[in-house]
């Protein structure tokens, strides 16, 4: 046993987790570092690397979770990240690689392993999904494999933590693999290794596999997909409305209202400070939806109107992600997405965008070409409202039922398709075909799932709530200073003539850049008709991304493409708004 230390190598300072997509690198990363990163059951969950630490004091080791890759010759930007990090690790002393392998798919995974060995970097091989391999009748002789490859091989079940202790205990044993093969193609070598280490007992197809195949056959898959999407919608509504009705609204009504009324009286029921903190009293009462004080509407919008739906959406999304359904949905909608110049996998960023456009834009990195990423990012910014905005639209138009809601979402869907078709023909570049692994169905681990929901909800609380509060403050400031009425008069031709909205709606368009949910909330006190609410909801979704989305778009697309995207957004928003004003 030639330890890293014994062979004169420096102590380990950095660990790189490398492996094929969807083998559990992120779960192992979380186990090693205690840092939570989003892990899901589809290839391409990790699009950038995350950093964390394991061990303490002098023994502290940096751990880097990198995107999955099938080879060391990158195709996507996510894969480029891997090769860059690996090449750096090869040069640095004290860096080791943990090569995470999917034990159910040893043959393909070893392709990457042999290429890593060729890089001559100290490594440890982790045989993850060990339990699943056993279930499917695959037995691997880990000791024999270790002997052949010349680097430690450790079986693990990362989601339950099995084998992680052994991995930590043996980190210092990381060493350069000794297996060498001649030529470029390692496949024949892999065959030889498999003969010596792997036994397959043929089992019947598992129940999950049968269900899995039903969801991907076109004649059963498409009806099932429609059913699943309908269920998704209903479950989100059920959880969201339940949380609002039984938890968040009672908290505001029973606990918060008396406190705020007392504060209002204390402040003399009027005055600048009162307006900023409490807002306008409506018939002598605080209206959480319309008063527009920081402590009333400023808290009510994010916590009682939006948060419940954020929780509901991410709960359902996490379930879909961890089950492995999303790549199957990608296959089913592939043909349709070609109409808008994308392939099926683009449904994943689109889905994420329904929660928040920021992770949606980031997830476009799973698409291979620049053209696809531009199309996907621009399309989602134009026509996919985030869950926060959707929740507010439901709040406003909900009372009208489907007569009010339907036109908004149908219009946005038509815009999504029409803008996609248009851009497919105008934007040059390549759009390759779908080519992805379809992971096995797994029943989501409740604990893992809830943790993921919590991570995303916490992100919302940290990133969104301050913006809403700041937004309410700015609204009050702009009104007091007379800026909104002034801009309203300036924009009158467009806003009133073209869109048929009152001048005050300009305030919503300004604040929409900060937070779209708040902007929709600003429509509440304006006494708009159903038609005006529909137009305003659609225009607010389309005209420009919120500041957080704008920032990631700028980073992902670059200035030039961002300007192009912005022009498309503004132009199409006013075009569609004007059309709705004529038609409705």
């Amino acid at each position: 046993m030639a330890q890293n230390g014994k062979s004169g190598g420096p102590p380990i300072q950095k660990i790189l987790l490398i492996g094929n997509p969807n083998v559990g690198k992120s779960v192992i990363f979380s186990r090693l570092t205690g840092v939570n990163v989003i892990a899901s059951n589809y290839p391409g969950t990790t699009i950038d690397f995350s950093r964390g630490y394991t061990g303490h004091g002098e023994n502290r080791i940096e751990v880097i979770d990198v995107p999955g890759t099938y080879s060391l010759e990158p195709v996507s930007p996510a894969e480029k990240v891997v090769v860059e990090l690996l090449n750096r690790a090869v040069e640095e002393r004290g860096s080791i690689v943990i090569n995470v392998i999917d034990a159910t798919n040893l043959e393909r995974n070893l392709n990457l392993t042999l290429r890593l060995i060729k890089k001559d970097v100290p490594m440890i091989i982790v045989l993850n999904l060990w339990d699943e391999a056993k279930h499917t009748g695959i037995t691997i002789d880990a000791e024999k494999l270790e002997e052949i490859l010349g680097a430690p091989v450790i079986p693990t079940v990362a989601v339950t933590g099995e084998g992680i202790k052994q991995l930590v205990d043996r980190l210092q044993e990381a060493k350069r693999g000794t297996y060498r093969f001649a030529g470029e193609e390692p496949w024949q070598e892999i065959g030889k290794i498999l003969d010596q280490t792997q036994t397959l007992t043929h089992r019947h197809h598992t129940f999950m596999e049968r269900v899995g195949d039903l969801t991907i056959h076109p004649w059963t898959g498409i009806p099932l997909a429609i059913l699943i999407m309908y269920a998704v919608f209903q479950v989100i509504r059920l959880i969201g409305e339940g949380l609002i009705g039984y938890l968040f609204e009672p908290i505001f009504e029973i606990l918060w209202r008396p406190a705020m009324m007392a504060l209002s009286r204390l402040l003399g029921s009027a005055g600048t400070l009162h307006d900023i903190l409490i807002g306008q009293l409506i018939d002598g009462r605080i209206d959480f939806g319309q008063s527009f004080g920081i402590l009333t509407t400023g808290l009510f919008v994010p916590f009682a109107a939006v948060l419940p739906y954020i929780i509901a959406f991410y709960f359902v999304l996490s379930f879909l992600e961890d089950s492995g359904y999303l790549p199957r949905l990608a296959v089913l909608v592939d043909k349709f997405l070609h109409v808008i110049g994308l392939h099926g996998m683009a449904i994943i960023p689109m889905f994420l965008a329904c929660g928040c456009n920021v992770p949606g834009v980031l997830a476009t990195r799973i698409l291979e070409t620049r053209r696809e990423r531009f199309l996907a990012a621009t399309l989602m910014s134009i026509s996919i409202p985030c869950m926060a905005q959707t929740a507010m639209i439901f709040g406003l138009l909900g009372p009208y039922g489907s007569r009010g809601l339907f036109p908004v979402f149908i219009t946005l869907f038509i815009v999504w398709v029409a803008a996609g078709v248009l851009m497919r023909n105008l934007v040059r570049g390549e759009s390759p075909e779908i080519f992805t692994e379809i992971p096995a169905y797994r029943f989501p681990h409740m604990r893992v799932m809830l943790k993921k929901v919590w991570m995303r909800v916490r992100w919302f609380l940290k990133e969104a709530v301050p913006f809403v509060l700041a937004g309410v403050f700015i609204v009050n400031l702009l009104y007091t200073a007379g800026v909104i009425p002034f801009l309203g008069r300036l924009a009158a031709p467009v806003v009133t003539r073209l869109l048929g909205l009152p001048l005050d709606a300009v305030g919503a368009l300004i604040i929409g850049f900060l937070r779209k949910d708040l902007a929709v909330g600003m429509l509440a006190p304006l006494d708009l008709s159903m038609k005006q609410l529909i137009i305003a909801s659609v225009v607010l979704t389309m005209y420009f991304p919120c500041v957080a989305t704008f920032a990631v778009l700028l980073k992902e697309l670059g200035v030039r493409d961002m300007i192009k995207a912005a022009i498309i957004m503004i132009a199409s928003a006013f075009l569609v708004g004007a059309l709705l004003n004529l038609i409705l």
Binding site: N105, N111, E185, D213, H217, V331, G344, E433
Partner: protein
């Protein structure tokens, strides 16, 4: 034995890959994901209107676009 390709195979049919046609880039990606001459494949399903093809390779399932699937030449059983 019948020579065919992944796109033309029937759902449920198995065979052995004999050749990858087309550019080195596409072939390289296919090989990296385990589709290469000599490998046993089973077609699970094909989507309507020349949609993606689902193939079983070992215990993995891959979704391959129709155009790329046509380049995978298979000797069906």
């Amino acid at each position: 034995m019948r020579m065919t390709d992944l796109a033309a195979m029937h759902a449920g049919e198995s065979g052995t890959v004999t050749r990858l046609d087309g550019g080195t880039g596409a072939s390289k990606r296919l090989e990296d994901m385990g589709i290469r001459p000599g490998v046993r494949v089973t077609k699970i399903s094909g989507q309507i209107m020349h949609g993606p093809v689902i193939v079983g390779v070992g215990s993995a399932r891959l979704a391959i676009g129709h155009g790329m699937a046509r380049r995978v030449v298979v000797a069906a059983d």
